[in-house]
């Protein structure tokens, strides 16, 4: 007997305050058996419960190469995320998952990878970045283009610093015009523009894109201008979800259920979808 709606209890082992309203939780399964057997693939998501408030859907932002814990990152925006944001280390929440498909990182061996993220779109990409960095020898050049509205809105600041220092990663950081401050050393400009200036070569290269819908739209256009083919561009979509398992009827884009057939799609697949975003 299995109850598809019953979450696991997970304990908040650590909390990282990414921005004033964005938190990351490092979570550990309370049940030893689950803790030891839990596996996921990079790109998959879960439903996180603040008991008494409900469930919310976020990707697993930790890499699939690291076992024993998962991490999630969320912005306090709605009822559940605001309730989660008030919790402390040691508190318990619920987790169901992993659900959905994943980024085919094994197929990318021997290729260059360009990661492009905007704002709170970095968490799902972070999972893929670290999954690839943990097996660095499998891939060639790794480029990360990340932007946010303001310097304050950049998430994972420590890790950005770390990636910036690494010789085997090329990091380009940018903030929207007006979002810079006196200490800002990165670029100023929107992600698609900065991406075009960075001009990654499409040969033997795959791209991973995530961010707000408007950023994704213009980034896909920029990639097309740079000569990338739609099959080499991957993105992860999100929609409101309640069940995560293809029953509750919310996340479909036309006839495609994001929770089951997604959330990871190539740009080609996205272009074939119904206009239901």
């Amino acid at each position: 007997m299995s109850n598809i709606y019953l979450p696991h209890i997970v304990k908040i082992e650590d909390i990282y305050r990414e921005t004033p309203d964005v938190r990351s939780f490092r979570l550990v399964f309370q049940d030893k058996k689950v803790r030891e057997s839990f596996e996921f693939r990079t790109g998959q998501f879960g439903l996180y419960s603040a008991f008494g408030y409900g469930e919310s859907t976020f990707c697993i932002s930790s890499p699939s190469t690291r076992k024993g814990y998962i991490q999630c990152t969320f912005r306090a925006t709605g009822r559940v995320t605001n309730a989660l944001a008030q919790l402390n280390v040691g508190d318990t929440i619920g987790f169901r998952g992993p659900y959905g498909n994943w980024f085919p990182v094994d197929e990318w061996k021997g290729k260059n990878i360009v990661f492009i993220a905007g704002g709170i779109g970095l968490p799902p990409v972070r999972s893929v970045i670290w999954t690839c960095l943990d097996r660095r020898e499998d891939y060639r050049d790794i480029t990360i283009v990340y932007g946010a509205r303001t310097v304050e809105d950049l998430v994972y600041k420590n890790e950005l610093e770390h990636w910036d220092e690494r010789d085997d990663v090329y990091l380009v950081q940018t903030v929207d015009p007006g979002g810079e401050n006196a200490d800002w050393k990165g670029r100023v400009g929107f992600v698609p523009t900065v991406l075009e200036e960075t001009a990654p070569k499409p040969e033997n290269t795959v791209c991973v894109v995530c961010g707000p819908p408007i950023m994704i739209k213009f980034t896909l256009q920029a990639l097309e201008n740079l000569g990338f083919s739609d099959e080499d561009v991957y993105t992860t979509l999100e929609n409101k979800m309640k069940c995560g398992v293809g029953k509750c009827g919310r996340c479909n884009v036309g006839d495609v259920y994001i929770c089951k057939e997604g959330p990871v799609y190539t740009a080609r697949e996205v272009k074939r979808m119904y206009n239901d975003f």
Partner: protein, 339 residues
């Protein structure tokens, strides 16, 4: 198994047998002067003169609200307890063939890949005793969507009314046969009395299901100006979805106090504006016609295409309950006409 006779005066025997064992006997009965499927404990609570009950019987497999978990908070953390469905033998007596046909549809959604046992365990414990239709109204359109008024799909036992008010009974499934065997004192071996004539709703000539499916399959048509036009009068009340036997959408909601609570699975409706609303404020279906389009798409493209089941069984409830008379068959005709 041969046809048997279920006399009306023997119904109490059947009801007693089922309910005495802790089972649920659901049949058409009056509720607020309307015939609905509801639990009965005696035959005199039942109604026999009805076309289609106001509700579909999905609520006995997929309740309007049900707990899936209970939680409580302690110093040591959160205690979480699963709430299992507790299915009892459920007889759905007097189902109509359209409603019976919808079981396969709901099952297909609740079992693709992940299995929702809250649904399957209840449906597995149910015996659907369908009575072939001997009357209908202008809203009935089962024949247009490929369901027959004396169809067997989804039924365990098919009954036909006789002129004298009794029923001939024919087992359709193994489950139905063993049910008739178990309650054999209710069924008589000698069949007598003439069966009433089956009412055949007129097939709507203007509807071409194949054409509708093809038209919906082309994603360009999703942006057709036809959608805002046909759905303009929809007020988004959701009555069609709640009365629909194949609508499956639900919400998972926490209810409780600071100390304890329940997680419940509640009916929801794709016609409500908050249904797909993101916390960010973005809403992919931000206007009513997009929500109405989604429902139509679900019935005539997603169900048949993805789940290979019927999205619409032609019961006509959505037409009867619609406060603005938005008739789905008119839209079906409209789309069938598109050159």
């Amino acid at each position: 198994m041969d046809k048997r006779l279920l006399k009306r005066e023997r119904l109490d025997r059947l009801i007693d047998g089922v309910t005495r064992g802790g089972g649920l006997f659901v049949a058409p009965r009056l509720d607020a002067r309307r015939v609905v499927y509801g639990p009965v404990t005696a035959a005199d609570e039942m109604e026999f003169d009805y076309i289609v009950p106001g509700n579909s019987f999905k609520e006995f497999f997929f309740p309007r609200t049900e707990p899936v978990a209970r939680f409580s908070f302690h110093k040591q953390g959160t205690e979480l307890e699963e709430v299992r469905p507790e299915p009892v033998e459920t007889v759905i007596f007097g189902s109509r063939p359209c409603d019976a046909a919808s079981c396969a549809s709901l099952r297909s959604v609740f079992t693709w890949d992940f299995v929702d046992e809250y649904y399957t365990e209840r449906e597995d414990a149910a015996v659907v005793m369908t009575v072939a239709c001997t009357q209908g109204d202008e809203s009935c359109f089962c024949t247009t969507v490929g369901v027959a008024p004396d169809g067997r799909d989804g039924s365990d036992i098919l009954l036909r009314e006789t002129e004298g008010g009794d029923f001939t009974a024919e087992a359709v499934t193994e489950k139905g046969a063993s049910f008739m065997e178990r309650y054999k004192d209710a069924f008589e071996a000698t069949v007598e009395g003439r069966e009433k004539e089956v009412f055949q709703p007129e097939i709507l000539d203007g509807v071409d299901l194949e054409r509708i499916a093809q038209w919906l399959k082309d994603k360009e048509h999703y942006s057709s100006p036809l959608w805002p036009e046909v759905a303009r009068k929809c007020i988004g009340c959701g009555a069609c979805t709640f009365s629909c036997p194949t609508c499956h959408c639900f919400d998972l909601v926490d209810e409780g106090t600071f100390f304890e609570g329940e997680r419940r699975k509640n009916w929801d409706s794709c016609q409500f504006d908050y249904f797909t609303l993101h916390a960010s404020g973005h809403n992919p279906r931000d206007t009513q016609y997009k929500r109405w389009r989604n429902r139509f798409m679900c019935k005539f493209h997603i169900y048949p295409g993805k789940f290979s089941t019927k999205g619409c069984v032609g019961c006509g409830r959505c037409i009867r309950v619609c406060p603005v008379r938005l008739d789905i068959t008119e839209v079906m005709e409209e789309i069938s006409k598109v050159p």
